[in-house]
């Protein structure tokens, strides 16, 4: 379905050069059953001369059989595909159409307006840059108009055209057009803002579809086709941070190892620093190779093969990201789901989750709320029905390296697949890491516990112990020297006559936290309980030395808030992974390599180093005594030790 070639004015080489250089725009059409979607698409195909004579003849034959337009060839029949649909006169699935003009090539996802087919709309919307929402001028903004608008917004389609159709049936009334436009704008103002256009038209009669129309002298804007030919496309996906899920490793011989994948976001150049997520291992891009030779730059949505400078282990499911703008890593995520199956979704159900090229078992832990797409109200529910949209918390067996969907679609989307029947049950838009709200349940602290006055005042404690209370968090990779440093520090403080107690991950897990494992959630809870303990210790006037990996920056922030910013000191034991691995005092890394242990910070998921620690200790270079001295100096500087 492409524009005709006119041999009298054009050479074929010129024509091909133009065709080969066109850009691609994918758009979705939606609206109620009778709003005229199929007619619009049929009209576009017809008026851009994309219909062949035999196809038109077939449609004329079909029009006599099924047509609804009297004597006219019913152009809608061009796009209604399967026989059962033709007989029912409605489209019941997503159909893809293709046409091109002199300027662009278009892929149209044609989706049904029938209300139980939210899933088809979500499907069509997922790959589109633009939504075209048809509104019947006689009926104005309907429940379905709103619903479809909300779905396209949730699915993150960045631009929308509201085509107010059947203007011929309201005598091209400007008032009608303006009032529908105002209604729509009022409604859409509750949604995240996006580029929005309005165009009046009659798809049946062809007015303002391709060319301007004398029937609407009051309308000075572009026709529908002019709009879709001029809307900006493609740039946004290259503005965001570089992301490429690894699809496969290409290793034809010992000299070449490339990570094949499709760039989902941003651009990459040789020499760029990148990280392999979720492990967080860093390297540099050495080559961007393709069948046609190496590239100096590659941007979304190109498929390439990336060769790194270092011999780094990465495999399908990992994501190569910009080192300066890494993504979030978590095995507990919050997402909005479009539920696509007749069976009701209930909490606790297990699925296979696909995100990027990662496939992992997962469990829907909790259904937070359902979104009513008609009223935009959110209400708590204990299940989701077919075509409902709701927010859920998901726990994955393998941590995901993701971005919020509204920032990067390619690394913010997921599907849930039934473990037995393999049906695609849900589409998900990741909103973020699941916030652990236990952290916020901070008990009352300080002088007035349980309404009882403190028997010993802070000033009295300070005077007795010669110190102000504080919590020193020693954070760093396993093997970075945290535990032995904590012991030396306690000894040093004791020798100085001060009072400190020591908490570390291993001992906490032996008792108080023996119910916890090593998932991101459990690590967070391990730290939370330990920090609650630290807080109690501090309230008694003592110094707490806490040695924990604490790999997640946001969790350390919460620890600081819990203990109190003014008495929380973050000390980063910054020995690099290679050093920790080679030392491997506890045999953890060796065991991980042989037994395939998971959830090791810096190996399976990223350790997020503090941006601005109170103290940075290169523990791989310093003698332990020197590290202790630096911490003591810090305590003195901060007025904790007098």
């Amino acid at each position: 379905m492409d524009p005709r070639f006119d041999a009298s004015t054009d050479t074929i080489d010129e024509y091909l050069a133009r065709h080969e250089g066109k850009q691609l725009l994918r758009f979705l059409t939606c609206g109620s059953v009778d709003d005229g979607k199929s007619t619009l698409i049929g009209r576009l195909l017809h008026d851009t001369k994309g219909i062949y004579e035999d196809q038109l003849a077939a449609v004329e034959g079909d029009s006599r059989k099924y047509g609804t337009q009297g004597g006219h060839a019913d152009l809608a029949l061009l796009v209604d595909g399967l026989r059962s649909e033709r007989e029912q006169g409605i489209t019941i699935d997503v159909a893809y159409r293709y046409f091109s003009t002199e300027k662009r090539k278009f892929i149209v996802a044609d989706t049904p307006g029938h209300e139980q087919y939210t899933r088809n709309m979500a499907t069509g919307a997922s790959t589109c840059d633009l939504a075209v929402l048809l509104v019947d001028a006689r009926h104005g903004v309907s429940v379905q108009t709103r619903r479809h608008c909300v779905i396209t917004s949730l699915l993150g389609i960045p631009k929308i055209i509201v085509a107010i159709n059947k203007m011929d049936l309201v005598d091209w009334s400007r008032e009608t057009y303006e009032s529908i436009k105002a209604d729509f704008e009022a409604f859409a103002s509750d949604l995240p803002s996006r580029e929005q256009h309005f165009v009046p038209m009659s798809a049946l009669e062809g007015d303002l579809v391709v060319e301007s129309s004398p029937r609407a002298p009051w309308y000075e804007g572009p026709s529908f086709l002019e709009l879709i030919e001029s809307i900006e496309i493609g740039a946004a996906a290259q503005e965001t941070a570089f992301r490429m899920p690894v699809n496969l490793v290409i290793r034809p011989d010992l000299d070449y190892r490339g990570f094949g994948g499709r760039i989902e976001s941003g651009v990459v150049r040789p020499g760029d620093r990148v990280k392999i997520m979720p492990a967080g291992t860093e390297s540099k891009v050495s080559r961007i190779s393709t069948f046609d030779g190496d590239l100096d730059i590659a941007g979304a949505p190109r498929s390439v093969s990336i060769v790194l400078e270092d011999e780094i282990d990465a495999s399908r499911g990992d994501v190569i990201v910009s080192a300066d703008q890494p993504c979030i890593v978590s095995d507990r995520i919050t997402a909005d789901l479009v539920w696509m199956h007749e069976d009701r979704l209930t909490p606790g159900r297990e699925f296979i989750l696909r995100h990027g090229t990662r496939v992992t078992p997962c469990r829907v832990r909790r259904i937070v709320e359902r979104l009513d797409v008609d009223t935009l109200e959110r209400s708590p529910v204990d299940g989701l029905e077919l075509n409902e949209i709701g927010r859920v918390e998901i726990e994955t067996d393998f941590p995901l390296a993701f971005d919020p969907y509204e920032e990067i679609r390619g690394t913010g989307s997921l599907i849930l697949v039934d473990r037995i029947g393999n049906w695609t049950m849900a589409a998900g838009m990741v909103r973020g890491r699941t916030e652990d709200n236990r952290w916020t349940a901070t008990p009352v602290s300080g002088e007035d516990r349980d309404g009882q006055p403190d028997p010993v005042s802070p000033a009295e404690r300070e005077s007795r112990y010669g110190q102000r209370p504080a919590t020193v968090l020693l954070t760093g990779l396993a093997g970075s020297g945290k535990t032995s440093l904590a012991a030396l520090l306690e000894r040093a403080l004791f020798d100085l006559g001060r009072v400190a107690i020591r908490l570390d991950g291993t001992t906490m897990r032996r008792g108080l936290n023996r119910d916890l494992g090593f998932s991101a959630e459990d690590r967070s809870e391990n730290l939370r309980r330990s920090m609650e303990t630290a807080k109690l210790v501090n309230d008694e006037g003592l110094i707490c030395i806490a040695a924990f990996v604490a790999p997640v920056a946001s969790t350390r922030r919460k620890a600081a808030e819990l203990v109190g910013e003014d008495r929380f000191l973050e000390v980063h034991c910054a020995a690099p992974l290679e050093h920790c691995r080679s030392k491997d005092a506890t045999g953890l890394y060796a065991e991980a390599a042989t037994k395939g242990l998971e959830n090791i910070p810096g190996v399976d998921f990223e350790y997020e180093p503090p941006d601005a620690p109170d103290l940075l200790l290169p523990t791989h270079e310093l003698e332990p005594e020197e590290s202790v001295n630096r911490i003591l100096d810090l305590l003195r500087t901060r007025g904790i030790l007098r």
């Binding site: 074929i12 399967l82 893809y96 091109s100 994948g261």
Partner: protein, 304 residues
């Protein structure tokens, strides 16, 4: 205003999508195979597969279903291509059909196609225990294909159920199947006929010379020009093959493939003619005209 840093043309965008799908097949399935029909769409797919795994080799075999009635030039092209590119080519014919002397002239296109194509394909897929067959179907070819999935699910009998296809979102392909089930993957779903030709032109991909016009012996039957490719075509009384300058818009079994009269002897000429043409490419295929929705019925039975 944001600026594009690496501007992709629509052909580059389509190519990137197709490469990603082909890689997905190689990563997700145990025993994938690429259908190779020798036509222009197959030539494009083969080219894309080479790109997907470069500098490595294509990690799966190519399967050709030989009905034994293909144009001779097609077979020569197939063998030359396999030789030059070092492909792992598997050729299968339905021996039962050959033994029964199956012929489109004797048994009619419907029965012949079912036995020599549909049944032969099922035999080959079963024998090879292939869990994914990559095909060159495009959504713009025919109405029933416009809703086809990129990863199209087939039951244990290789059947396609239009009501039992999984939703496909983003490029998060659901490639999971149960024992005995399979998937047909269509990496060039979103390409149009012009895209295919433009890409062949741009990338200088070799195609069977039958696509270009040359004097060829033909007979006219029911308004369709049939090439006399060998002596198995029975002549009607008084019928004489005549040399005409013809080419083919699609390639299949010679008795079922209509030629068009044309002087277009170069690829550019063919594309120019196509752009002026007023009939769609499938019109040359006898198979689509057996009845309304006939392609849909054939697909349900397991035809590609």
């Amino acid at each position: 205003m944001s600026a594009i840093k690496d501007q992709l043309s629509h052909l580059q965008a389509l190519e990137a999508e197709s490469i990603d799908i082909i890689r997905e097949v190689a990563s997700s399935f145990q025993r994938p195979v690429m259908m190779y029909s020798i036509g222009k769409d197959s030539s494009v797919m083969l080219h894309l597969a080479r790109k997907a795994f470069a500098p490595g080799k294509i990690p799966f075999p190519l399967l050709h279903i030989d009905t034994t009635w293909k144009f001779r030039e097609m077979i020569a092209f197939r063998d030359r291509t396999a030789e030059e590119l070092g492909l792992d080519l598997v050729v299968h014919s339905n021996q039962e059909g050959i033994d029964q002397g199956m012929s489109p002239f004797v048994h009619g296109s419907r029965v012949y196609t079912d036995v020599m194509k549909t049944q032969a394909l099922k035999q080959a897929l079963t024998a090879g225990r292939y869990d994914c067959a990559i095909g060159g179907a495009r959504r713009d070819e025919e109405k029933s294909r416009s809703k086809e999935r990129v990863f199209s699910f087939r039951d244990r009998n290789h059947r396609w159920d239009p009501k039992n296809q999984r939703p496909e979102l983003w490029n998060l392909w659901n490639t999971r199947i149960g024992p005995g089930e399979s998937v047909r993957a269509f990496p060039i779903s979103n390409w149009t006929e012009l895209d295919v030709w433009s890409y062949i032109h741009l990338e200088k991909i070799p195609v069977v010379p039958l696509y270009l016009s040359a004097p060829r012996p033909v007979v006219e039957r029911d308004g369709v020009l049939i090439m006399v490719d060998d002596d198995r075509i029975p002549m009607e009384p008084g019928e004489q093959p005549e040399m005409r300058s013809v080419r083919f818009r699609t390639l299949g079994c010679y008795p079922l493939t209509g030629a068009v009269e044309s002087e277009a002897a170069t690829l550019a000429d063919v594309i120019a003619e196509m752009l002026i043409a007023r009939t769609s490419e499938r019109q040359g295929r006898v198979i689509d005209h057996d009845g309304d929705g006939s392609m849909e019925d054939k697909k349900k039975e397991g035809y590609f």
